[in-house]
Amino acid sequence: MTPEPSRRLAPSARWLWRAQGLIATIPAIVAAGWLRSEQGGALWALLPVAVFALGVVAVPELRWSRWRYEVRDAEIDLRHGTVRITRTLVPMLRVQHVDTTRGPLDQLFGLATVVVHTAAGTTTIPALETAEAGQLRDRIAALARTADEL
């Protein structure tokens, strides 16, 4: 069996995802308030609590601890997931191009996402340190080029 990929995402990835979870909590609070005024009952308050517990507390930590990646000469090896864990392999031969993207939140935390394009769509390695993401992008691009020449 191929050894599991070894590299982790940036530790601040957890804070990025917690921030996203916090943003998702806002509509949950609004929805709970509206439901309470419409239908009554105190149990609606549990809705934002649940979203907060999952989106801010549980999922980011779990997701970060599960995420592993490794770029080898001939392939990109990923392991990710929170509940269902998926191990994906992208052959370097299939990589068409690769780029990095930075959303507003990414920029706030100094992170970037590497997006690998194949004929089947895109595969992403999220939340890497900006400098590391840039190096990774260049490395994949170089490897994809040599793989084509073989």
Binding site: T2, E75, I85, T88, L89, P91, A119, A120
Partner: protein, 479 residues
């Protein structure tokens, strides 16, 4: 080889004029309408309307003529160049290295004049070509092909004298394909049955009498109208399929498959073999009982196109699939049957979650609409049956570097793909599967295409994942 700038066939005037007329159809209709509405419908208004119409047609014809006059194309300097436009000049150049194919399309007007429209296809282009030449005569098409061949011989080969491997859809098969195509054919009887059940559950015996009186004011009338609409929709879809698949012909021509189809709009597409990453054998609900399938190709870069464009052959007996592929596409030929199923102990994992969600939805429906009694609970056994069929459909095989994976979501689907052409592959496990020692395997072949087999033994799935990682080795070991 370079060529002089060539003009389009004069038939292009008609095509371009019609295009212009179509673009201007709305303003013309508005003009006509105001001409008539302005002073009521009398002979003067009618005459004025006809005058506007004549002016519109004349303007469109002039536009068509000017566009024809200003359009030219040539193959030169390793590229296909086209220039068009009278006031606003537009020049397009497609480097020959980027040309993926020269497709010819013959619409009704083109066929009237015995010419074709040529679409210069590139990888990035959509359904239309990067350059569209509206009307090109037969010799000019040959000359164009000749020009492209000088630079890219693999794209265009000389017209062959010997008979090429070819399959042509018979009229009878075309009719069967059209009638059994689409999910609507499934929805229709299901819905009709459901409505019957509904009207029956209201406990009235008036069905037959009311139907004979044809009064659409009752609930029954609405049902009748709905069923009528569905039948019309189904008829349209059958007619659409008939027209789209009429004269469907597949030819293997060297490194390309040529697919010709269509009654009103003859379309000819040349698909380079190396861009075909997989073949999908699809058995719809209406076809499966009769052992009938349709073949689709998974092509890199063609995902945005309609499914008709990805059809390799619209109707084929299941037993005929492997011989068909061996003749026309030996690179991907494989047996869609005799796959290894998931272990027997996985069966309940296909059935139980489905049955449970069916029971929850059915139960919720019962609670929310108490008037409709208990029958939504039937969803649970139906969903269980669906899960059982999914289990029976699931299977895989990796032999000689060729992967076959079958699964089902309403329609049965078997993907045949060389392991070396997979875009990516994955193995996935939920905590429950981890405890039970099971895992899912997924592969991706194109934007629209992938396959997944759920609940394989974890070590079998892991082994398959490893073997897909090094496809060269498996093919060498076997070959």
């Amino acid at each position: 080889m370079s060529s002089e700038p060539a003009k389009l066939h004069p038939a292009a005037i008609a095509v371009l004029a019609l295009n212009a007329l179509r673009e201007a159809a709305l303003p013309i209709i508005v003009l006509l309408f105001t001409a008539i509405a302005g002073s009521g419908l009398d002979t003067a208004a009618l005459r004025r309307g006809l005058l506007y119409l004549a002016i519109g047609v004349a303007a469109a014809s002039l536009m068509g003529f000017l566009r024809w006059l200003s359009t030219s194309y040539r193959v030169e300097d390793g590229g296909v160049h086209a220039r068009t436009g009278f006031l606003l000049r537009k020049e397009t150049t497609v480097p020959l290295s980027r040309v993926q194919g020269l497709d010819t399309v013959a619409g009704p007007v083109q066929r009237l004049f015995g010419v074709v429209a040529v679409h210069v296809q590139t990888a990035g282009g959509g359904a239309k070509g990067e350059i569209v030449l509206e009307a090109v005569g037969p010799e000019a098409v040959e000359a164009l092909r000749e020009g492209v061949r000088a630079h890219r011989p693999e794209l265009v080969e000389a017209a062959p004298a010997t008979a090429l491997p070819e399959r042509r859809l018979t009229r009878r098969d075309g009719l069967i394909a059209a009638v059994t195509a689409g999910q609507l054919g499934v929805i229709l009887p299901a819905l009709a049955g459901g409505l019957q059940l509904l009207s029956g559950s209201f406990g009235n015996q008036r069905g037959v009498e009311d139907a004979s009186r044809l009064l659409p004011d009752s609930a029954f009338g609405w049902e009748l109208a709905a069923v009528g609409l569905l039948i019309i929709a189904w008829g349209l879809s059958v007619a659409g399929s008939l027209i789209a698949f009429a004269g469907f012909t597949v030819t293997r021509d060297g490194e390309r498959l040529r697919i010709r189809r269509g009654l009103l709009q003859r379309t000819e597409v040349a698909v380079p073999i190396r861009r075909i990453h997989g073949v999908r054998v699809v058995e719809g609900l209406l076809r499966r009982p009769f052992g009938l399938t349709a073949l689709r190709v998974e092509i890199a870069g063609y995902a945005a196109e309609a499914s008709a464009a990805r059809t390799l052959y619209p109707l084929l007996r299941r037993a005929d699939v492997e011989p068909f592929l061996a003749e026309l596409l030996p690179e991907l030929a494989d047996d869609p049957g005799h796959l290894t199923p998931p272990p027997a102990r996985a069966a309940r994992r296909y059935v139980l979650p489905r049955a449970l969600s069916g029971a929850i939805v059915g139960g919720a429906a019962c609670l929310i609409f108490p008037a409709i009694a208990w029958w939504p609970l039937l969803l649970a056994p139906l969903a269980a049956l669906d899960g059982w069929l999914d289990y029976r459909a699931a299977g895989w095989r990796l032999r000689d570097g060729r992967l076959a994976m079958s699964s089902r979501t309403l329609a049965w689907s078997t993907l045949l793909a060389p392991a070396a052409r997979l875009q990516e592959h994955a193995i996935a496990q939920t905590p429950l599967q981890r405890r039970a020692g099971l895992a899912d395997v997924q592969v991706a072949v194109g934007k629209a295409g992938g396959a997944q087999v759920r609940h394989l033994e974890a070590d079998v799935a892991g082994d398959l994942w490893e073997r897909l990682r090094r496809p060269e080795r498996t093919s060498k070991a076997a070959g």
